[in-house]
Symmetry: C2
Subunit: 222 residues, 2 copies
DNA sequence: CGGAATCCTCTTCGATACTG
DNA sequence: CAGTATCGAAGAGGATTCCG
């Protein structure tokens, strides 16, 4: 069966023909921070069901957005990762994240909460400020999971795993990072309250610079 | 019945909870160029069905993205328009459009084709170059429908209707504009082939500047 | 463990017809 | 025109099972 299409010769419609179905962009979000195994994806997409995940992955593979690979030893696990075309969806996710940040109030009852989602939100906040930022690398330890954000040449990369030689290591809870990224809490508040703290820092200014980049969102988004 | 939600405390998921359903972002695309009546929306979203359009509009109204208004006299028609929150979705549409441009080949058999979609695609191309651009206004007459693009202070606005005092008026066919916006055809080619032409211009350089802004995409997107 | 396939129920979609 | 009502078709989603 051919997939459903809007049947419009339009750039936006064509994009949505490919990545507009339910779960698809969240699947891309999961892969944005690095390759993932099938069961990792299942865990990051609560409620999707194995059949649907299989179907989406197959469609994305056919469209050249996702690729199956085997991780180098000693891992050796079969994983899914984004192709270049898939990674070029990053600006879409970033804008969605920035828009969604304004709608994100307090967690509702029984809503899932994962460290990786805070990493994506942080990435979209830094993205807005990266143009005027110096080259810098931050490591985030969010509820035990480790990510790093590299800011360089106006671009931003957020990936899972530790950074080598980070300028700053920040430790905190998922909800605190999300509250800051969504502009619900000023970064200094979070630091003062102890829900976010610098654990290692190359120089004292690194934390200040990091917080300054997170700052504009708090005031900017209405 | 509450609407379906991913149930994730995540900025991206929250955005998709609101605008992730089928047709919703295309509906926003339609309103991006200005207020529209119900039947205009139906015409711009072939295949949607009246019940679904009604439902989507109602949901968007409840979420503060769309507002019902009456156009000032002599029009006096009931229309739907974007709120500020709705308009802030523009970056999302722009990025989707830029991503989709790379996938947009030649029109497939029986695909719909509307002038307004070319206007949206043009807007997303200009958006990338607006930061370094001077203040300028272009009027586009696409298969008889009139739009204008205003570039000012790094921002871009694309709306339906004529511009007052445009620096340049460009006339052409929908498909030609889309081919250029998608990078399938270099702007000078389109001009040489006569499928796009300047009908009025404040100075001779206006067309050159306009084409230069359209140029980088042709080479940039694979 | 990593997935694919099946079954069943529910919701949503999409097209048409109908009403204020 | 601007919607509501209706109904068959398609997709979502949860459980379970099978296979390598």
């Amino acid at each position: 069966m051919g997939k459903r299409s809007y049947g419009q010769y339009c750039t936006v419609a064509r994009a949505l023909d490919v990545i507009g179905e339910r779960w698809t962009l969240l699947l891309v979000r999961e892969l944005l921070t690095g390759p993932k195994r099938f069961k990792d994806l299942l865990a990051g997409l609560p409620g999707i069901g194995t059949n649907l995940l299989t179907g989406r992955l197959k469609a994305l593979e056919e469209d050249g957005i996702v690729r199956r690979t085997v991780l180098p030893p000693p891992a050796g696990s079969r994983v899914y990762e984004l192709t270049d075309l898939g990674r070029s969806l990053e600006p879409v996710i970033v804008e969605l994240s920035r828009w969604g940040a304004g709608l994100l109030g307090a967690p509702r009852g029984e809503e899932d909460l994962r460290p990786a989602w805070a990493a994506v939100a942080l990435r979209s906040v830094f993205d807005a400020e990266a143009a005027s930022a110096p080259k810098e690398t931050y490591e985030f330890r969010i509820d035990g999971e480790v990510f790093h954000v590299r800011i360089e040449g106006g671009g931003v990369e957020a990936r899972q795993g530790p950074a080598d030689d980070p300028d700053l290591v920040v430790v905190g809870a998922t909800e605190a990072f999300l509250a800051v990224a969504a502009g619900r809490m000023r970064p200094e508040e979070a630091v003062e309250a102890g829900s976010i703290r610098a654990s290692e820092s190359r120089d004292d200014d690194a934390l200040v610079r990091c917080l300054e980049m997170l700052q504009p969102v708090a005031s900017g988004s209405g």
